[in-house]
């Protein structure tokens, strides 16, 4: 009888587990029918053919976000000699790329790309991040515990960390000027400062049309691709380039799936493991030790 009980118990728990995984699979299938971003999300189309590397956008960002004074003037173009990354003191930086066979270098402004389905948001266990309907990926620094998981999760290596803060280091990144501009329907400071409209601000869906139109009108000038239209599920900031994207510092191996979809299956198992496994193994333990207990009782009776 005892053996039967154990077998039944095991069968039952296995069936339960299988059912749970089937249910979670079907839920996944629905979710992966792609969110595709908020319908009226705003975005920026960065046209590398127009950028001349003047760094006005960096200066505008510094002023708008009240960032600390830079180490060098913003009109000092010697900083372009080495590749830079975003930092706690600079939410956007311009880098220069020499293109083989072209007379002129290309310049690429980097900042948070404001993904439709942000990996930073998914990875944040205190839910500090929000993707707003306007398209911005913002975060609440008062909630941030400084774990830096989002820095690892971001496919573009954008979130920076305030290492200089001893007591309360937090994440620092571009927020699309959400608080001061975007939520009032105004373009971010960098866009407004750009002298050559290398940055075009508008509804994301319109920018894709504009990008395709530019490619169509000047097929010899542009690569036939809008970087960010589909990459990692689509981003609010997108790029046009006259050189192959891998020559101007873009990661062209990111694929079109949101980063979230790579971890979704695993993450749905986590609550199951946490709830079912303790009961399951406690059951195993009780069953396995039951004989011993009985034997002990029998011994003590003797």
């Amino acid at each position: 009888m005892k053996a039967m009980n154990r077998r039944k118990f095991l069968k039952g728990s296995l069936l339960g587990g299988a059912a749970a995984s089937v249910i979670s699979k079907s839920k996944n299938a629905d979710a992966s029918a792609s969110f595709g971003g908020y319908p009226d999300a705003m975005g920026v189309l960065v046209d590398l053919t127009r950028c001349v590397g003047c760094r006005s956008c960096e200066a505008a960002c510094n002023k708008e976000q009240g960032l600390p004074a830079p180490a060098q003037s913003f009109d000092d173009l010697s900083v372009l000699d080495h590749e830079r990354r975003t930092s706690e003191g600079a939410y956007t930086v311009v880098n220069q790329y020499e293109i083989p066979g072209q007379d002129h270098p290309l310049f690429r402004k980097i900042q948070c790309n404001h993904c439709n389905e942000p990996a930073c948001l998914t990875s944040c266990f205190v839910n500090a991040y929000t993707k707003t309907p306007e398209g911005a990926v913002i975060y609440d620094p008062t909630v941030c515990v400084g774990c830096r998981t989002c820095m690892v999760a971001c496919p573009f290596y954008i979130p920076a960390y305030s290492y200089s803060s001893v007591l309360n280091p937090v994440i620092k990144k571009c927020i699309f000027c959400y608080d001061t501009r975007l939520k009032f329907g105004r373009p971010p400071a960098c866009v407004e400062s750009c002298p050559r409209e290398a940055l075009t601000f508008g509804k994301r869906k319109d920018l894709i049309k504009i990008g395709n139109q530019r490619i169509k009108s000047h097929p010899d000038l542009y690569e036939d691709h809008i970087y960010g239209e589909k990459e990692v599920g689509g981003t609010s900031w997108m790029y046009l380039s006259s050189a192959p994207f891998d020559q101007v510092g873009f990661d062209t191996d990111l694929g079109t799936q949101p980063i979230l979809s790579y971890v979704k299956e695993f993450l749905t198992v986590v609550p199951m493991v946490l709830t079912i496994w303790p009961a399951l193994f406690a059951g195993f333990h009780l069953l396995a030790t039951r004989k011993d207990k009985q034997k002990k009782e029998e011994k003590s009776e003797i």
């Binding site: 830079p70 180490a71 975003t86 050559r196 530019r214």
Partner: protein, 178 residues
């Protein structure tokens, strides 16, 4: 200064009406001698654009900068599709077509609401100047840096942390850590 500019354009129009009964396009020399451009006037001093000199440089081909708006024959095949027969327009100055509020909600909504509009990707005023001026300057091999055309104001120096606002020398690498 803006009214002077308008007066100048008025003068262009009047001269068009008076002196060209047989031709519907403007000719070089009708344009203003100088145009004050002050749309960036916070960070930079206004630019005094030598219109007369540029007429010479472009061999009086107004279309180099003014597209088809002066009735000049245009060469761009894409433009010719619609504008082969276009005559001179009422709007000639850059600012009359290229919006200074290119990315403000009012402008974006207006574009959004008009399904028939072809020129949806028309650059704003600031970009129209810079793209036209700088691309040509590069081709001609003439001065093309920011301050070759603009002298910066004190507010501009502050904005760029330059001039008297230049940060002190530091041995830290630019940009700092990530």
């Amino acid at each position: 200064m803006e009214h002077i500019q308008k007066y100048l354009y008025g003068a262009v129009l009047v001269s068009l009406l008076c002196f060209s009964p047989l031709q519907n396009f403007a000719v070089a020399g009708d344009g203003p001698d100088e145009v004050e451009i002050d749309s960036l006037a916070q960070l930079y001093e206004p630019v005094y654009f030598d219109h007369a000199m540029h007429e010479e440089v472009t061999d009086s081909n107004c279309a180099v900068c003014h597209h088809h708006t002066l009735g000049t024959q245009i060469e761009d095949e894409n433009c010719i599709r619609c504008h082969a027969e276009s005559s001179a327009t009422d709007e000639i100055a850059c600012q009359e077509c290229h919006a200074s509020n290119r990315f403000e909600a009012d402008y974006l909504n207006k574009i959004d609401a008009d399904n028939t509009l072809y020129h949806r990707d028309k650059v704003g005023l600031k970009a129209a100047y810079h793209i036209r001026c700088m691309n040509c300057h590069e081709e001609m091999g003439v001065a093309n840096g920011c301050q070759d055309c603009h002298s910066r104001t004190d507010a501009g120096d502050k904005f760029f942390h330059s001039g008297s606002y230049t940060p002190p020398e530091s041995d830290k690498p630019a940009g700092g850590g990530h």
